[in-house]
């Protein structure tokens, strides 16, 4: 009975070999049991799943996937029917997942408001003084960034912050704070000095604000 469901890992792929003859209901139970045993092993695993050894109907495959999803803390990238995958494609899929999801917020954030997101954030509006934007990924502000912005809150030194007008209260990427603010509050509040299209990123653990140019963009890609 132990061999009705077999797990095999290869090249980032999790191959699940299924017994071809036992009833589907029984097979499901075996899968649950097997998953429970391998819970520790599979935790946080980013996998491409392949079912082998048994002809599955579409709804059966979905049912099995649901079981996998419920039983273990695993990140299913996609499911393959076993044909050889070009490794580049796998890499691409992994990258998309790692880049995270993105939220679009339309509207100005006023003093006292907080916007936090476990992915990337795009704000179409201003971040006024006294308001806070936080993201696990990158932050892009199509508007004026006057408040507090913190990118890469859960530790991500590749995160960046872009704003049409960069004039923040406080800027933080990963755990690094920006230090060279202009101290003249009156001056900073005026329209004329607005810094057009700037980007903030980390280089050698120092937070740099740069004009958003081809060169600075290359720097981010390189980091």
């Amino acid at each position: 009975m132990g061999n009705n469901v077999i797990f095999k890992g290869s090249n980032g792929k999790l191959i699940i070999i299924l017994n071809p003859v036992i009833p589907f209901q029984e097979l499901k139970e075996h899968l649950v049991e097997k998953l429970k045993k391998s819970k520790q092993l599979l935790m946080g695993y980013e996998a491409i799943i392949e079912f082998k050894g048994r002809e599955l109907k579409e709804e059966e495959e979905l049912e099995l996937l649901n079981i996998v999803d419920e039983e273990v803390d695993i990140n299913i990238l996609f499911v393959t029917d076993g044909e050889e995958l070009v490794s580049k494609e796998i890499e691409k899929a992994v990258n998309i997942v790692n880049e995270g999801v993105t939220k679009f917020h339309v509207g100005t954030l006023r003093s006292g408001e907080i916007l936090e997101y476990p992915g990337n954030l795009v704000v179409l509006g201003d971040i006024n003084p006294g308001s806070i934007v936080k993201a696990e990924g990158n932050i892009v502000v199509i508007g004026t960034l006057n408040g507090v912005a913190h990118a890469g809150i859960k530790g991500n030194n590749e995160a960046f912050i872009v704003a049409s007008n960069m004039n923040p209260f406080q800027l933080k990427i990963d755990e690094v704070l920006f230090k060279n603010y202009s101290s003249n509050i009156l001056f900073r509040s005026k329209q004329i000095i607005r810094n057009k299209n700037n980007i903030a990123y980390l280089r050698n653990n120092i937070l740099i604000i740069d004009k958003l140019t081809r060169k600075s963009m290359k720097n981010i890609v390189a980091t």
């Binding site: 006292g112 006024n128 308001s131 009156l186 005026k190 329209q191």
Partner: protein
């Protein structure tokens, strides 16, 4: 059915009460019936600025508690037949009033007057919540100082969250000399930061101090620059198209100032 405006700012001392009194006079002069309601319970001032302190018998708390009828608590202005004040209680505090009580009272006032102006207390606590609950639109007062603008922004956020109608901006106490020297924020910068429509700019004016001490709002005579500015704002509230003059044009300093004051 009248329209209810709440005059608010967040920060204290920027001219909410002075503005309320002067806009009230301005609207009454234009022929509208106006009631000014002091929502600053426990720290009332509006009666002093209007010079009506010694006529108070009942106040809004008495009306809300049913001690008197609304008509008994309303004080008619000495100068204008259509201008009334509903004073606040000085012996209670803001926690004694609930938003429901205020809503009811404001609804009553709205039926009797063309304009209801509510003078909001400073802060964003219960007093603020009570003051905004019955209002249709809000008028934000700010000075060109950063701290005042920051607080205004916070209040605008709270008003938007409570689904306030239109929110308009008055920039008070502008010192043109400092603005021209670059030592004070320009109105355009303030509008840019707060993202609101501006309905008036009031110059810093010593006459305000003098008139407050006399208990006669500057709009009564409207000779001082501030009085003229308030009259223009009152005109804009009733829907008149009073243009803003561009003060940035290359003119002599004297004419710039003159132009600004005649806004």
């Amino acid at each position: 059915m009248g329209k209810v405006y709440v005059v608010t700012s967040g920060k204290g001392g920027v001219g909410k009460t002075t503005t309320t009194a002067n806009l009230g006079v301005g609207l009454a002069k234009n022929g509208s019936s106006v009631v000014l309601m002091d929502a600053d319970i426990g720290l009332r001032n509006l009666d002093v600025i209007l010079g009506l302190e010694n006529r108070i018998v009942y106040n809004s708390m008495d009306v809300m508690e049913g001690t008197c009828r609304l008509k008994q608590a309303l004080i008619k202005d000495k100068r204008y037949d259509k201008l009334f004040l509903l004073p606040a209680s000085q012996t209670n505090d803001k926690m004694d009033v609930s938003t429901d009580m205020m809503k009811k009272l404001v609804a009553q006032l709205k039926e009797k007057f063309d304009y209801v102006l509510i003078d909001c207390p400073a802060g964003i606590e219960q007093g603020f919540k009570n003051a905004i609950v019955g209002a249709d639109e809000a008028i934000i007062i700010t000075t060109p100082e950063i701290s005042s603008i920051r607080d205004a922004d916070r209040v605008i956020g709270l008003l938007a969250a409570s689904e306030m109608g239109e929110i308009k901006l008055i920039v008070n106490r502008v010192k043109m000399k400092l603005v021209n020297e670059g030592n004070m924020l320009h109105m355009d910068d303030i509008v840019d930061i707060l993202g609101l429509d501006i309905i008036g700019v009031v110059p810093d004016d010593e006459e305000i101090v003098i008139s407050t001490n006399k208990g006669e709002p500057v709009t009564v005579k409207a000779l001082a620059p501030s009085g003229k500015a308030y009259m223009n704002i009152a005109g804009r509230i009733v829907g008149e198209d009073i243009p803003f003059l561009n003060i940035d044009e290359k003119r002599s300093f004297a004419s710039k100032v003159k132009n600004f004051f005649s806004r």
